[in-house]
Amino acid sequence: MAEVESSTAAFEEDDHRVAYIFNAGQSPSQSQLQVVQTAATAATARPAKRRKVAKTTTIDAPKQQQAVVSGPAFPPLFNGAERPDAVQLRQDLFATAWPVLEARVQHVLRDANRTTLDEVAAFLQQAAAAETGKLTAGFIITGPNIASQDLLFEQLAERLGTADQATFVRLRASEAPNLKATWLKMIRDAMAKEGGEDGRKYLDYDLEALRVFLAQQQQRPPRVVVAFQDSEALDSGLLTDLMTLFHSWHDRIRFDVLFGIATSVELFQARLLKSTARQLYGAQFDVVQADSVLERVIKSAVAGTQAALRIGPSLLRSLVERQRDQVAGIQVFVSSLKYAYMCHFYANPLSVLLAGDGRLDSGLVQPEHFEAVRTLDSFKAQAEAAVEARQLNHAQSLIEDDQYLVGLILEQEQKRREYQTQLLRSLHILAAAGLSPSSFVELYMVALASGIDLSQASGTVPAEDAVRRLNPDEFLSLIDRVLKAIHAGSPELGLDAWESDADEFVAALADTRDEVEGLMARAKRNRTSLKSRYSAQSRVLRTTVVSQKVQLSRDTATLTAEDTAFTAAVDTLTALLAQNLHCDPVGRLFLHEAWVYDAKSPYRDVFVPRPAATVARALSRPHDYLACACCSQAAGGGLAATLPPTAILYQLYREAGALVNVADLWSAYYALVGGDDDESDVGLGERAALVCFYRALAELRLMGFVKQSKRKADHVAKLKWL
């Protein structure tokens, strides 16, 4: 109880909903931020203590974190009725689930760069040995995403710094606006604030200082690797200067340069002088394609068994598409994942229901949980299905009996695991067998959204034809691949080998394989080639031009006994695969809402904000935000005198041409808001209207809609076209 007490003291239902009010008048010497509770509960709570908490949270960030550790940082849901241990459990779930994934993702990302690192290091060594008298330059083609290069260059620094004993300096274009600044930064980084040098004092940007320093470090020959992360943004003139100088210093300090290149080496070279280009001894390195990194990350962190939360198919699809369409690096993908985890465990009280490992007991489940469960779509579907199937008792207990529901809920964890295993095994086999042209990620999304069904006509992953078309050799190798997949499992997905679970399937596969091998041997003895009905038929269909029918029947007649047997084997395999590679769409599972997160809009709001559209919408429909009584007739988007002046001007602005005459604008505005004769009590006087007008126009200008036109006096130019 003590724990509960302390936690409620620090955090209440509405604690996360705070408004910061800048209150300068209260204490003029030091303006301070004060946290004001939006909820009425604040008034009843102990104000003195609250003030203290508020201060520490705003002023002393580290302390605040310590305070958080003591109680759950998540607010209780169900309008504050959620039990503290449930809250704690949600928080724990998040705290255990995410770091595991993050570690895996980091591992994948670092691993993806490994070959590139090896190649770069090898090249630098080889170039050092070659004694070309030129400046060694490595061009690392990283793609346009500058943020994702950070990790690569970090790793390069680690690698070259330790293995090759080279001093490694990273530079961004923003840190290198001119020669002096570049040298300054470079020397500072390389010497790592090793101050007390005796004797001569050098200028901050004198490379001689660096040489002396390196010589003191007994580096022989002194070696510095300079990496430019975003070479495109470097000024071309500076680039040439840098290369010339590096080259000219080459006999005293061995400079090697590395360039992160987003476009292509050709474009880079086009910016250099020919004479400078001639001084370079370069090689190009590609980092692993972003697609394949993404696939690996998805395999290990989204699809794999380690992932506690399933990212739903539509969210996943939009994440993947964003990776392909936009300049959003893999880091953005990872943070989107993290955000999904946060949202789920922070805001979904049902996320505790499938805690697993016996952490969820019936004591934790409270009435609100049942209420929430009964509103779920999957619950409704379940109940309706029960009614449909005439299991009326079951349906009734579902709706009325809480204890019955608890039992069901506790069962679901097991079901979820089974589903997940079945899904991943099927996908793994499908991918290993190469039966579908789509990539793993695509298959995964399809499987989640609509399940796996191999049938040719109606299935989500039509693969039957692919099996049927196989010739005997391919047929055997397909079986081998499937067996191998079962045998090896997939460490990437976190799947262990599952022969013992699937002994029937394995045995059937092995039988089919033996049979076909026997058939092949026999066919060889007969000097015929083994074919199935399907492959033979397709061949005929392709060659015939006239009277298909006749030739078709003739062809089937020529099938030998072995061919018929092979056809049977193909059918067996097709059936086997169809039967074993199968799963439902995730949306059809009872209670999947507890462990699938598929909401797109929170993610879009946070990661792809649309400020322009938001402002435009607010201006065109202010009533939606103000909810004032006066403008309700303008709620549809029309003009009304009571709208805020800026909104009125915005409407007029949208109807105007590229150049807006301010006088016209004013008269239009005044015609709307002014009320000279008839309704003088409603309308504004001219002076008041003019003030409003000017302020509104200034606001429009501030928001970047208009600017003073230079072409015509008394006109403003329209800046927004859309």
């Binding site: 190649e119 010339t244 090689a283």
Partner: protein, 489 residues
């Protein structure tokens, strides 16, 4: 030692130098006379000549030997060479000079800060003037490439020329490319000119370093072949591509393996010069050999100069199609934006309505098709009257960002089949902004004029596309768009 009034430096030094640097005997002798304390030491000396004519190399070599010779003599020569190219600011130059001079004189005290020429003068006086030195002592200060000193005040050169007037034992040598008359603002400065090499000089310099003997060929034959080969190279290339000694040498060594390949193969002998020449004619025209680019050319004669040494998964670099390269790197939206930017840069704004309006939806009037092609080829009989240059061949025009966004919004639905009907991806969203920022940081899109500099958030300024027609065409094809159809003359 009873020295005569006039004594030249040791003849051995001079002959040794003239042998390392052929065809430079007059210059070497002149320098020797003008720098040697025993001969006619001068105060200021200007060495000038175009790029890579041996100015730096010969001065350095000569001074090193003079200093070594006079080391135990009482007529001592000390020297310091400062390369101005390496000095970032003029202050850097002064400090480097002081540092180097102190180093050459083995001066113990750490040289202090030195911010102006007057401070430099003071420091040099301390070391050279007020410290007693033996008779005939001279210090030579070489300011290499001083005409290329960064942000030099315009008084720099005259001021430096005054140094030797203040310090009698100092000789200041200015190494420059082309001195303007009286640029030191002082009279009686001897100039030594290093002219560019002529063809026979090139050939004779190169013949001092012949390549290793060829198989089945004697040493003399190889040398002879090398000389004729270099002469031929000079005739065919030197005018255009390799005017300086290093580039000429590079061209010769790069072509030599190809040229002698028939000898290695045994099909020709070293005597058949003209046959060899004809056999190697292709290579003489191959520019990639002479200008291999920044990527390493592998020395074995596999005809693929742009392959990287390491076994990377490079498939894209074989024969670069610049557009395809970019296309594989850029995601879809930035690609479309870049295309829109190109259209904004290369179409006149008055045609926008015709091109992009959605009024006649099905078959919209694209003025482009054929029109711009005709303009480019200049073959259309009726159209050649005006002799207008195709707009796409002209430079890119600046446009306002909003116009590009409007074009993007207009064409997006048509170009990107997935973009249509999809609710997300509105015009003003952060992803578009990020794409534009990325394109700008890659310098594919540049901000011009007006409010450049300060405010990155300000979208009022003008922009220009910074990629050429070839790239854009490739890029357009990668998304299935013929950009040509969207251009109006």
């Amino acid at each position: 030692m009873g020295t005569s009034m006039f004594q030249l430096p040791d003849e051995l030094i001079l002959t040794a130098l003239t042998q390392t640097f052929l065809c430079r005997e007059p210059q070497i002798r002149a320098l020797g006379t003008l720098l040697y304390p025993g001969a006619a030491p001068c105060r200021n000396l200007v060495i000038h000549g175009t790029e890579a004519t041996g100015k730096s190399a010969i001065t350095a070599a000569l001074l090193a030997r003079l200093a070594a010779q006079t080391d135990d003599d009482e007529v001592g020569v000390r020297y310091a060479i400062v390369n101005s190219v390496e000095c970032i600011t003029s202050r850097h130059l002064y400090e480097t000079v002081v540092g180097k001079v102190a180093g050459a004189l083995e001066w113990e005290a750490a040289p202090p800060r030195c911010e102006t020429v007057s401070q430099l003068t003071v420091e040099l006086c301390k070391m050279l003037k007020y410290t007693p030195r033996p008779d005939g002592f001279r210090f030579v200060l070489v300011l290499d490439a001083i005409d290329r000193q960064r942000d030099a005040p315009h008084t720099l050169l005259p001021a430096l020329a005054r140094l030797s007037e203040i310090i009698p034992s100092l000789t200041t040598v200015f190494v420059v490319t082309a001195p303007s008359p009286n640029f030191l603002r002082t009279s009686f400065v001897p100039h030594v000119h290093f002219p560019t090499y002529t063809k026979p000089e090139f050939v004779s310099i190169l013949s001092t370093s012949p390549p290793a003997s060829l198989p089945n060929t004697s040493r003399e034959e190889t040398t002879d072949l090398w000389a004729r080969f270099t002469a031929a190279i000079h005739d065919s290339l030197a005018r255009a591509a390799s005017r300086t000694l290093p580039t000429f040498r590079h061209a010769c060594t790069a072509l030599w393996p190809r040229f002698t390949a028939p000898i290695h193969a045994g099909t020709h002998t070293a005597r058949e010069f003209s046959k060899l020449l004809i056999a190697a004619r292709v290579h003489f025209q191959d520019e990639t050999l002479l200008d291999p680019g920044v990527l390493v050319a592998i020395t074995n004669p596999a005809p693929n100069p742009t392959i990287s040494t390491t076994t990377t998964t490079t498939t894209t670099i074989q024969k670069p199609n610049p557009g395809a390269d970019l296309a594989s790197l850029l995601p879809t939206i930035p690609r479309l934006l870049l295309l829109a930017a190109y259209l904004a840069s290369h179409n006149a704004a008055r045609h926008d309505l015709v091109l992009f309006s959605t009024h006649h939806h099905g078959r919209r009037r694209r003025g482009g098709r054929g029109l711009s092609v005709g303009g480019a080829r200049g073959a259309g009989p009726g159209r050649s009257k005006h002799r207008k240059i195709a707009r796409k061949l002209l430079g890119a025009h600046a446009f306002v960002l909003e116009r590009m966004l409007a074009i993007f919004a207009a064409v997006r639905g048509e170009w990107d089949p997935r973009g249509r009907g999809d609710d997300h991806g509105g015009e003003g969203d952060a992803d578009i902004g990020m794409a534009i920022a990325t394109l700008a940081s890659l310098r594919l899109l540049v901000k011009v004029g007006g409010g450049v500099g300060g405010d990155v958030m300000d979208c009022g300024g003008k922009w220009r596309v910074n990629v050429g027609w070839e790239v854009i065409r490739g890029l357009g094809r990668s998304v299935g768009v013929e950009v040509e159809e969207w251009l109006i003359e």
